[in-house]
Subunit: 441 residues, 2 copies
């Protein structure tokens, strides 16, 4: 006997069997429907890209430690995409002159990062990407992206108390560093990284990190005021860049009914080099899932890696792993229930087989999926298999019944069986099913 | 100025902009609907697999010359999947004991092969995979797979005269080699490869290849009779293995109304080591696309690379590149038309902006996607952009109109504009759109 191969998927990845796939399809369909309702159009692109498109803006950690890259047989250095945004920028640039603006694009790519697998972290994940590029008025685009992020979660059944969007603006942080702390530009990223850690470390640790980075007690006091002062701090410091913009944006979102989902948080940092305007992160308020659910922001420089024109752009990426954790925590993950369908039993004679195939086809043509029994001869065994597949109704018709124009319809959950005219199958099945089933996707 | 990056996708791959994506979505939705109507359930799996799963049965040409493989950061040799069937076998094996049989699975993976790009051949393509594993009666499974292949093309609008399924059985060829030609088993693959080429070469070339492979004139005569004798040859040679099986299968398919789509062709070879029972290939009859559209067959040995139990399995894989060529040739490729949606104009004051966002949201909640204008101030420019995006209807409401509870609705194709009560928007848009639009997917 030869040695058998492992049936496990590659480390840090998942197989999607029908039950899991059905849940994924339901969640993604809901996401897609909401995103499309805002006028976003779906795009797609190859999973392999030239590595150059990640070298400019993707974080060093990803490129050096996490990217799946290799040399192809033609000596090109390529990568399996770790994120979608560089691809979006590449595609936009390729048709920048002909695309009517603003462009609203979404995609649901699978992305790869070489991570140590853990909660919320896998090597392959799917990510809903939504981007608006080239908006004549970027303020409105920023507002719409935040609204979209909220509406997506609401359409999945999440309520106001279950999540919060924390919003800031990169220029506020930069301007604070420059005008209040008097920091040289090269020190900004270091301090930003410490701010980013604040929620995960103690007050003492926070203070000692800042001291080590050369921030004295006065500076630390200012940082604390900045981080905890909320919108009031912005109102009192109007000369800080971005302050007026953020206040206006918060006002529009509030008047549009989004304030309950939203908080200004100057501690939202995200990719420091990447974002140029608003930045936001969405958090689960339950405390079960500490990492941000997803996030995004404005990245006006990315497209200029490809073309001269500077294109304003704002968007977010929502990964399926953290999203599903969130849905599970709040018990709003859709179940793996199958769509309504029937089972058509088969019999061993050639005439019977022809008849069963005909019957199954007719039911399909009338709009209900029909799975045919592929033997064995014993009817009881076929019906048990169908029940095992969570099919609720079986249609049975031998040749004698065919001659009489009738079928037996059996409810595989209750055992109830009735004889009905063949032409009433669909009507009967729907009546018996009631509203227990989704209609077919 | 730094040098700009290329905006082209990686060689041999495609970007899907919204127009192309819409076509792909429409075709794949149609495929999925048909496949689901037979009771198939969707699965998915990671795009990267351990390379071992391809070494057993995937053709040598693919593994040695075409596979995208690399060593990961953990020293594992992995591959980007060149085909889906080994993954299906791995997944089935991983839950072989608990899965109710038969298993009917489908997937639409993207697959990678390092090919010289050309007509019908790209490095990344999508492929509809359908498989039935563990059927109690494999004869019925074989029949169903052929029916499914035909129904898929019919549901895309293909007619009887546009395609033909050529069907054979691996054992017929093997048995002919053994019992009629007296060939040693190790020579079977060589002769099979020559048979596979027959349609692409001249009669003289065919004969000289056979002579070079040691087939004398008598053997060549037998081969020609075998290849051209059709079902009659099978009836006259009942001691050939597989002959009776294929005659029965053809009879069932004929009685089920599929004979017009079907022909027995003993020259169908496909992967010689891979298939163990029926094999089939679907051809475009127009002559425009010479390569087979898609194909499949029975592969009972594949699962035994993972588990001891031998599992019967039959399936096919249908690639999007050849399929789209076929649909284009016969002018049945769906157009890139957008779903019905409206454009909501915006105005520059904060009160107007709040109102436009509100209006757009209300239209979405009533079931019609609404794309909001993101500036600039000039209404005419906004409407021109909307028309450029092939949106047919614009909704315009300033604050004065809001106070009166009305909106302007403008047909961007005809220029026609009417004022209507706000609560009649959806009704009006649907009436004006008539049946020119698909409903949202």
């Amino acid at each position: 006997m030869s040695e058998k191969l492992s049936t496990k998927p590659y480390k840090g990845t998942r197989d999607f069997y029908p039950d899991e796939m059905r849940q994924r399809t339901k969640v993604f369909s809901s996401l897609e429907k909401t995103v499309r309702s805002f006028g976003f159009e779906k795009i797609d692109a190859p999973i392999v890209e030239p590595i150059e498109i990640y070298l400019a803006k993707t974080s060093e950690e990803i490129v050096n430690q996490q990217i799946y890259s290799f040399i192809d047989r033609g000596e090109r250095r390529v990568a399996i995409r770790p994120e979608m945004t560089p691809t979006v920028a590449r595609m936009f640039s390729g048709k920048a002159r002909e695309l009517p603006r603003p462009v609203r694009w979404f995609s649901i790519p699978n992305l790869w990062r070489y991570e140590q697998p853990g909660k919320g972290r896998l090597r392959e994940h799917w990510q809903l990407n939504c981007d608006i590029l080239g908006a004549p008025d970027e303020f409105l685009a920023d507002a719409e992206i935040i609204m979209l992020a909220v509406e997506i979660l609401k359409s999945l059944g999440a309520t106001q108390s279950q999540f919060i969007v924390k919003l800031s603006h990169r220029e506020i942080l930069n301007s604070f560093f420059e005008k209040r702390l008097g920091l040289a530009k090269e020190n900004w990223p270091t301090i930003a990284r410490i701010l980013d850690k604040k929620e995960k470390i103690s007050g003492e640790e926070f203070s000692s990190f800042l001291s080590a980075a050369g921030i004295d007690a006065v500076g630390q006091e200012q940082i604390l005021n900045f981080l905890t002062g909320g919108l009031q701090w912005l109102r009192e410091n109007p000369e800080i860049d971005g302050a007026g913009y953020l206040l206006e944006l918060m006002a529009l979102l509030e008047k549009s009914g989004y304030s309950e989902h939203l908080a200004y948080d100057p501690g939202v940092v995200r990719g420091f080099d990447y974002y140029t305007g608003i930045v936001f992160e969405v958090f689960d308020t339950s405390g079960e899932n500490r990492r941000s659910l997803f996030g995004g922001g404005r990245y006006d420089k990315l497209v200029s890696a490809f073309i001269k024109e500077e294109i304003n752009a704002v968007g977010f990426g929502m990964g399926d792993v953290t999203l599903f954790d969130f849905l599970q925590t709040h018990q709003i993950l859709p179940g793996p229930q199958r769509e309504l369908q029937v089972f058509v039993a088969s019999f061993p004679t050639p005439e019977d087989q022809v008849n069963s195939f005909r019957l199954a086809r007719e039911i399909r043509n009338l709009g209900i999926p029909a799975e045919m029994g592929l033997g064995p001869a014993k009817l009881g065994k076929q019906l048990a298999e169908a029940a095992g597949k969570k099919i609720s109704f079986a249609i049975i018709q031998g040749l004698e019944e065919k001659d009489r124009g009738v079928v037996q319809i059996k409810n595989l959950e209750t055992g109830e069986q009735v004889e009905i005219p063949e032409e009433e199958i669909v009507e009967q099945v729907k009546a018996m099913a009631g509203d227990r089933y989704d209609t077919q996707k």
